[in-house]
């Protein structure tokens, strides 16, 4: 009967209830859409960055993160390969060597960031091979063919097909020195890197640097960003090698994670403001609806209705409105987010350039991630319960006679 009473009270003052409802719906849709765009875009950007270079996870020598040098290496034992092949959610893996060196063409010399990779495996992990800008990617990982950054080619004043000399300090401390042939260039959208980047076959790099069968890093691609923790655990359990570390993308790219966290905080802050505004709206309408009924409340208190029941009534009324509002808001919010997944917002101009600096796609995309709906709904529910506290307190303190006399 309390529920019936609450329901009818809500519809007695349609206009006010609809305003409250609209506030809840508006807040829910705004919050869901905003969070959807933020989290959807983060996921998009993380994927584009990790697929551009780092991979979703990396297996590294434990010293490599702090001191990326040839000495931070490890052998790719069978148990590692088995672990990678048997862990659920792993789509591919690619062993790499990294070394600093010098590249010379005629009179020009430039610093070089040398990556030894296996193109066949790298295809399953990153977009290196697809990012070929001119020429071709080498196919054998033991040839003397290399692919260089577009900018490096320009800086050297070289052309595709030219022979260059690479000089690097080897693992054993001696200087390695070998001729290579440029067969293509890549553009990754990272100017700095493009001015020094060199890809060569993993085996060629191992022989240039006297690394035997060793590598520095294995980059791993996972089927999504969410299960990385499980993959990380499973890998470390299977590999059980204290000299190795398994790092998720955010440990490999801490700056990316920080940038996202910063943006996320500002988003949550904005949401907070939105929700506080709605809270005041609810407080206002509930308070009005309560004060308006002081006389009615006084009468039922006189009849002997327990004060607490009357307080519940106020809560039930607000909760009913909030639940209806959240239901509508979630449905509309899901529709908006779904639309933005199918039709992402793509932009150009300065914003696009800014995004490209961070290797982000110039795109806003959304997500239907359930946690967004849950968090937004819980926040609005909490705030509406909180906004009810004061009106409910007034009702709790109302005396029958004061109510009856209230005009």
């Amino acid at each position: 009967m309390l529920l019936k009473l609450a329901w009818r009270n809500i519809w007695k003052n349609k206009r006010r209830s609809l305003i409250t409802l609209a506030a809840v719906v508006f807040a829910a849709v705004m919050a869901i859409a905003m969070r959807g765009i933020q989290l959807g875009t983060y996921a998009l950007n993380i994927r584009s960055v990790v697929e551009l270079f780092s991979g979703y996870l990396q297996i590294q020598n434990k010293n490599y993160l702090n001191n990326p040098s040839l000495s931070a290496n490890f052998s790719v034992h069978n148990n590692i390969i088995n672990a990678l092949k048997t862990t659920k959610g792993i789509l591919g893996y690619a062993p790499r060597i990294y070394a600093d060196g010098l590249i010379s063409y005629k009179d020009n010399s430039r610093g070089a960031a040398i990556f030894g990779i296996e193109p066949d495996k790298e295809k399953n992990v990153t977009t290196f091979v697809q990012n070929i800008n001119s020429g071709k990617f080498f196919t054998s990982d033991s040839s003397n063919e290399i692919v260089v950054g577009e900018q490096l080619l320009k800086n050297l004043d070289a052309k595709i097909g030219d022979e260059v000399v690479l000089l690097a300090q080897c693992y054993d401390g001696t200087l390695g020195n070998q001729k290579f042939k440029i067969v293509g260039t890549v553009k990754l959208g990272v100017q700095e890197l493009e001015a020094s980047l060199i890809f060569m076959g993993l085996k060629s790099a191992q022989s240039l640097l006297i690394m035997g069968g060793k590598v520095n890093v294995i980059a791993v691609k996972a089927d999504n960003l969410k299960n990385l923790g499980a993959i990380e655990n499973s890998l470390s359990e299977k590999i059980k090698n204290p000299d190795l570390r398994i790092l998720t993308w955010n440990k490999v790219n801490p700056e990316l994670e920080q940038a996202i966290q910063l943006d996320n905080v500002s988003g949550i802050f904005f949401l907070g403001i939105l929700i506080v505004i709605v809270a005041f709206g609810i407080l206002n309408t509930v308070l009005m609806s309560v004060i308006e009924r002081f006389k009615e409340f006084g009468v039922v208190l006189a009849i002997g209705m327990p004060q607490m029941n009357l307080t519940y009534l106020v809560y039930i009324e607000t909760l009913l409105l909030t639940f209806i509002g959240l239901f509508i808001g979630n449905v509309l919010g899901a529709a908006v987010n779904y639309f933005l997944i199918i039709h992402p917002i793509t932009f150009g101009g300065e914003l696009k350039q800014l995004y490209e600096i961070y290797h982000f796609l110039p795109q806003l995309r959304s997500t239907l991630e359930p946690s967004i709906f849950l968090n937004v709904s819980l926040s609005i529910l909490t705030i509406s319960l909180l906004s009810c506290l004061y009106p409910a307190y007034k009702v709790y303190k109302l005396e029958a006679l004061k109510g009856i006399r209230h005009t």
Partner: protein
Amino acid sequence: MEILKAERLVKIYQDNGVPVSALNNINLTVSKGEYVVIAGPSGSGKTTLLNLLGALDKPTEGRIYFEGEDITTKDKNELSKIRLHKLGFIFQAYNLIPVLTAIENIEFSMMLLGISDKERKEKALALMDELGIKELANKRPNEMSGGQQQRVAVARAIVNNPSVVLADEPTANLDSVTAGHLLDLMEQMNSEKNITFIFSSHDKNVIDRAKRLIILKDGRIDN
């Protein structure tokens, strides 16, 4: 059997810090089944006295015994329980719950007692039948006349079989014919069900029909 007893009641209101004496040394005893009218001019303290007898307010001084128990020392929740279980109220402005139909208004106080849905319906309908207001069952207060609303209010007040029904000027908003019908109804309930009625009025027709009359003047009994 003595049901209500007031001893040396004094009520002094504070009106913005100014003390206003509303009742002064009231002694009164009401027995089971009595039909009492409290009369007196406006401002004489009728409402104040009914509020005290109805456990809605506390006296500044004096004691009130309800069925032998001192109710002036009880707290808010205990008084609320006494009102729910033992008392019925009829108000001048009817004061039905606007969003509930007549029968739901009558069921309301039974609901507060935790009586089951089915039993509530049956009891409410039976009572409405007895009071001749069955056809109002599904009407909302704003679809009923004043007289009709007040009959529903009477039903609401007596449905839980209270020991005492208190009514503050129940006929003040009704024309004399309708008021007469309402009085018939209350007298009928008084004699048939032995329900004790205490109500206030300054209407001559009502006062003439009183079985026991208490006249208030300036907060004192003036019989």
